[in-house]
Symmetry: C2
Subunit: 182 residues, 2 copies
DNA sequence: ACCTGAACACCGTTCAAGT
DNA sequence: ACCTGAACACCGTTCAAGT
């Protein structure tokens, strides 16, 4: 890739990160291009779809997911509490940007989505947690990582759409945890 | 209201019902006006916002909600099954149109929404069910009708966004029911 | 009092012309 | 090979002119 192309690409991603943080994942791409100081065509050349751009922005998010996963898995207390912790952590991770819960949860079931690789990281992390919880015998049989993703994703999507802070869904996550535990 | 205005209003609602059924609640309003054979301005005169139009279309939906409520409340079997039945019924009722789960569930927490009156009918119906279940002692303390609406609404929203038929979320609704029951 | 439809704004997307 | 920005399409929304 030519040096100026590389540089423009980076400018666009940086600008998108900023705009998405302020306005959410459905913000105007025109604004992203303007702030990056590039023409609209340049943005589309690098990122044919919005999802491709979101995927690039989510690159650093992967680190946060892995960090949070290690932290939760290192928890030494009762496994039942570990479940609660993961649900809250999961909800927070997908709610960092407005529009995140809906986009991430939808892509979770659509393997051809450009952001599928990022979703896979989160789903794999969830698998590690559910595997552990199944070993410990705290989860009901048949509860899969996908189930967790869709349940927590659903509740977080509703809160996000209603402009409610993610902290307010804690009671609902408790209900989910109770439903998944034996 | 003048006779021609009345007639145009009815044409718009009828057209909207058709278009929303085919394309969901976020379909183009321009198409609605075209099919109704009226100018765009006429549509906006009668319905200043999309939500106002959705509210008008949902008028007949109220009957379905009340009908379904009576049917579920008439159920004579174990109360725990009544819970399952209501969750499934609820999910079906809000999933009749694409975009319904998100719109109805969001409005459930926004009392100033034009479709709030319609949401109230569904919330009240849910209250009747939860009251009954609390009396029977099958629901955990603190579970409110609002909780039910947000939990089922969330799961249904995810399925709707992923273009999945509502029937596929039944296992997730079982998890919710287990979490809400004692 | 109500309706029409052109006009405007906004945004996503493409592409001919330029470097 | 890459970039620019005008141009097009689409849609929501308004409003002057008409009945």
């Amino acid at each position: 890739m030519r040096a100026d192309a590389r540089r423009n690409r980076d400018l666009i991603v940086e600008s998108a990160r900023e705009v998405f943080r302020e306005q959410g994942y459905n913000a105007s791409l025109d604004l992203v291009a303007k702030r990056a100081g590039v023409g609209a065509g340049t943005l589309y050349r690098h990122f044919p779809s919005r999802e491709d751009l979101v995927n690039a922005v989510m690159q650093v998010w992967v680190d946060r997911v892995e960090e949070a996963t290690e932290k939760v898995l290192a928890f030494e207390g009762p496994p039942r509490e570990l479940l609660d912790q993961w649900l809250m952590t999961y909800a927070e991770l997908i709610s960092l940007h407005k529009g995140g819960p809906a986009k991430i949860t939808a892509a979770m079931v659509q393997p051809d989505s450009p952001i599928a690789p990022k979703c896979k990281v989160l789903r794999d992390a969830t698998s590690r947690v559910t595997d552990r919880l199944h070993e410990e015998g705290v989860l009901r049989e048949g509860i899969t990582a996908e189930d967790v993703c869709r349940l927590v994703g659903g509740v977080a999507t509703v809160a996000d759409g209603a402009e409610q802070p993610v902290s307010e869904i804690e009671p609902l996550l408790k209900v989910l945890a109770a439903g998944m535990a034996r």
